[in-house]
């Protein structure tokens, strides 16, 4: 049982009394009320506040970095790199790109704005209350979901992940520290998965529920959200990378792949599990050796985090099984489970046990990818691709129909731009509902482009 003080630290805003369904309802009502303050802020002011908060987080002192490291198991170097990357990923420019791409500019978020087609005026409203069910400790995923709600001017109730609640709490505190209107519109709490009364209190108060988690958790949430409440789920995803044979030589390519594997210890939905190299098993093996060297170098700069015994056992077993797989080769850190490269001739996509264990597989040509990916197609997210733009286009032509949402250069898989189509759909637009003002039919007719 957590002490009162421990419990107090696990909430935003901090509170000593235990959370009950009644108190959760009161909290949700207060958040809804705070929505007015958020609505009155111009979106550029929200963006500026977010930027200041993220910049402050990027400069977090060693004590807080240590706290975050302890909560997540990440090495402090991973925490620092993650915080630094956040302020770049959600910079003013990036967030403006996002708004531009999805709704053509900030106008409709701040008031009724004339539509570019001249047929009337439109305004976008965010949910009166968003409930975010958070799953894990990949910072950009947590930050993205909160920031999107704020851009939509929607107050947020976060259900903290049981593993690593620390980052989400620190983010809320940083945002509140910059502007109390944001602070009043944010709350972060936790309750046990089995406590359905708490779920009912939270989901019943929401206009929209956005949930992250495993397949089982998503099914549980789906069953608990009332039919009138909108539910957006982000189930678990898998990513891959594809490298043309000609690109398997340079050390820089192996280093870029190692960076993608090492980022957030491979916990992101954009982290690669399997790397395909077009060509022979020999060239895949040679590439595997280079990736191993790059992972070893990375381990010295940014060591893999702490694992549970179960997670380490999973790596030991994956390595041990591959040692006896015909044609397979294992390159691995010695005396630890820090990093593992398994070169495997079998083309079927291999799902990793994560924590910097990656499979490298030869593939005859891109045409063989659909068969190799078919069993995991519903889970595909991002494909990193080596080579040039033409190769990336070829990869997209093959992987797009399978469900891959993003094809990106190697080394930046874990840094999607703010305006990316997470899970293949617009994010901000999905949160918004619209009010249109029509012009008279005569005026709309006049505005209609003439054929």
């Amino acid at each position: 049982m957590p002490s009162a003080d421990g419990d107090r630290c696990q909430r935003f805003p901090p509170a000593a009394e235990p959370l009950t369904p009644a108190r959760l309802s009161t909290l949700a009502a207060a958040l809804r009320t705070a929505g007015a303050g958020l609505s009155a802020m111009p979106v550029h002011a929200i963006i500026a506040t977010v930027n200041r908060a993220l910049t402050r987080l990027a400069g977090t002192d060693a004590v807080n970095v240590a706290k975050l490291a302890a909560a997540s198991g990440y090495h402090p170097a991973t925490v620092r790199a993650g915080l630094r990357d956040l302020s770049l990923a959600f910079s003013t420019q990036q967030l403006e790109h996002l708004i531009e791409r999805e709704i053509g500019g900030p106008g409709p978020l701040d008031g009724f704005a004339a539509r570019p087609d001249g047929r009337g005026w439109s305004r976008a409203f965010g949910p009166a209350l968003s409930v975010l069910v958070m799953a894990g400790s990949v910072y950009p995923a947590v930050a993205e979901s909160v920031i999107l709600c704020l851009l939509a001017k929607s107050p947020c109730l976060l259900k903290l992940p049981s593993r690593d609640p620390a980052f989400a709490l620190m983010l809320c505190a940083a945002l509140a520290g910059e502007d109390e209107r944001l602070g009043r519109a944010l709350a972060a709490v936790s309750w046990p998965a089995w406590d359905h009364q708490m779920h009912a209190a939270a989901f019943g108060a929401a206009e929209t529920v956005i949930a992250y988690g495993g397949a089982e958790a998503m099914a549980a949430v789906r069953a608990l959200v009332p039919p009138a409440v909108r539910l957006i789920t982000h189930g678990p995803k898998l990513s891959l990378a594809v490298i043309p044979a000609a690109d398997a030589q340079p050390a820089a390519v192996a280093e870029a792949v190692a960076a993608d594997v090492a980022a957030y210890d491979q916990q992101g939905c954009v982290s690669p599990h399997t790397i395909y190299v077009t060509g022979s098993l020999d060239s895949a093996t040679a590439f595997g050796e280079r990736v191993a060297a790059a992972l070893a170098a990375r381990e010295r700069e940014q060591p893999r985090g702490m694992l549970t015994p179960s997670a380490a056992v999973a790596i030991r077993q994956a390595r041990g099984a591959a040692e006896f797989r015909p044609g397979a080769a294992v390159f691995a850190s010695s005396g630890s489970t820090a990093w593992t490269v398994i070169v495997d001739p079998e083309p079927a996509f291999a799902v990793s046990c994560l924590n910097r264990l990656v499979y490298i597989k030869p593939i005859v040509s891109l045409a063989a990818l659909p068969a190799a990916l078919a069993p995991v197609a519903p889970y595909l997210q991002t494909a990193g691709a080596g080579g040039d733009d033409a190769f990336r286009l070829a990869v997209a032509e093959v992987c797009g129909p399978l469900g891959v949402a993003r094809v990106c250069p190697l080394g930046q898989m874990q840094q999607p731009p703010a305006d990316w189509r997470h899970d293949g759909r617009p994010r901000l637009l999905e949160l918004l509902r619209w009010t249109d003002i029509d012009r008279t039919q005569a005026a709309m007719g006049a505005a209609r482009p003439t054929a």
């Binding site: 799953a135 056992v313 999973a314 790596i315 099984a321 040692e323 046990c353």
Partner: protein, 377 residues
């Protein structure tokens, strides 16, 4: 040593090991015979290094050969998942007397296979250990098994073991001509088992009730729905095995053992937990029936178990959780040194099993292999 000489050494080892096993299990207070174990371990490793090419390459890659082996602790262990990849044998696998398979938890998952060259050696290892821990008093017992008969599930090492131990005392201890096995194509026959137990209770015949722990949970639930209690005659005992999770509602071991006592009248010191693996030929038991007060698994003389840190593979201090490493000399024809996925706690003179490592549940939004298997269940 290859071909004929290797075969001769194998035959000699099988005979000598069986003779050692036939000496039985010494009392817990007896210090283990380290010299004898070390000598056998060196010979078994040399034989396996010679006769199993895949294992030999694995050892050479680690710089370990019979000539350089410093002690049994350094024998390279094979991960149990490797049994899913290759036939790890020192003989042509098509000449197996039996093949045991791991129970795949999901469809499509590859099963691990343990090829048994000789049932005789398996038997030689299993029976004295079972007798020492489950029937140290030699009392006649009527077996009731909450599992499939061996013929119904020939690939199951557990079914084979139940069959072997119930068959070993023939019909001498059996009471009446009732059924012994209460699982079949339709699943568990809980009512059949309950009636059989009630009949034996009425006849005053002590019972040995055996099965997987999840089956016991079902039996206890079945009895509880009718508020039934079947106090079994004095001397009756339970041998349960396997995890308590996943297959039925989750029950803590303490709660389950309390329910055994309440529903079946079996006291805590007559409940023996067994731990075994498809990939092993030897088993482990609690010593409660031989007067040990705390539960711990003590390896039989021809087995060594270490609890190691999965990160470094170094042995963990007493009282610490790690992963189990076994050297089972009864695995003469496969691989003796095994790196398991079973978590355990190192105890003085033995260990306790915590269960199969749950794998690495994803901490973020990615999908770990365990989650995917779960999603497809």
């Amino acid at each position: 040593m290859q071909g004929q000489p290797a075969e001769r050494e194998r035959a000699a080892l099988a005979t000598e090991l069986a003779a050692w096993m036939a000496e039985g299990i010494p009392p817990p207070s007896t210090p283990p015979d380290e010299q004898r174990f070390a000598a056998f371990a060196q010979r078994v490793f040399t034989y396996q290094f010679t006769a199993n090419l895949a294992y030999r390459r694995y050892c050479e890659w680690r710089g370990v050969t019979p000539e350089t082996l410093a002690g049994w602790q350094d024998i390279p262990a094979v991960a149990t998942d490797a049994f899913k990849e290759a036939s790890l044998t020192c003989f042509p696998p098509e000449r197996s007397e039996r093949i045991f398979e791991t129970s795949g938890t999901t469809q499509g998952e590859r099963r691990g296979r343990h090829y048994l060259r000789s049932d005789a050696l398996y038997r030689a290892a299993a029976l004295p250990n079972f007798d020492a821990h489950v029937r140290p008093d030699g009392r006649p017992l009527t077996p009731v098994v909450l599992f499939f008969a061996p013929a119904a599930l020939p690939s199951s090492s557990l079914a084979h073991m139940f069959g072997m131990v119930t068959g070993s005392w023939g019909s001498a201890g059996s009471h009446g001509d009732g059924h012994t096995y209460f699982a079949g194509p339709a699943g568990l026959d809980l009512e059949g088992a309950a009636q059989r137990l009630a009949g034996l209770a009425a006849a005053g015949a002590p019972v040995l009730l055996m099965g997987a722990a999840f089956a016991f949970v079902h039996l206890l639930d079945h009895l509880a729905t009718a508020a039934r209690r079947i106090p079994l005659p004095a001397g009756s005992r339970i041998m349960d095995t396997g995890g308590y999770k996943g297959r039925s509602r989750e029950v803590s071991k303490t709660d389950l053992y309390r329910m055994y006592t309440t529903a079946l009248g079996i006291p805590d010191d007559h409940i023996v937990n067994e731990y075994g693996m498809t990939e092993m030929s030897s088993q482990f038991y609690d010593g409660v029936l031989r007067g040990e007060r705390t539960r711990r698994k003590m390896p039989p003389p021809w087995v060594r178990t270490r609890v190691v840190d999965p990160e470094t593979l170094a042995p963990v201090p007493l009282g610490t959780t790690g992963v189990l490493w076994h050297l089972d000399l009864a695995n003469l024809d496969s691989v003796a040194a095994l790196q398991t996925a079973d978590l355990g706690v190192a105890l003085h003179g033995g260990f306790e099993v915590l269960g199969r490592a749950a794998g690495s549940a994803a901490r973020g939004c990615s999908l770990a292999v365990e989650d995917l298997l779960h999603a497809q269940r």
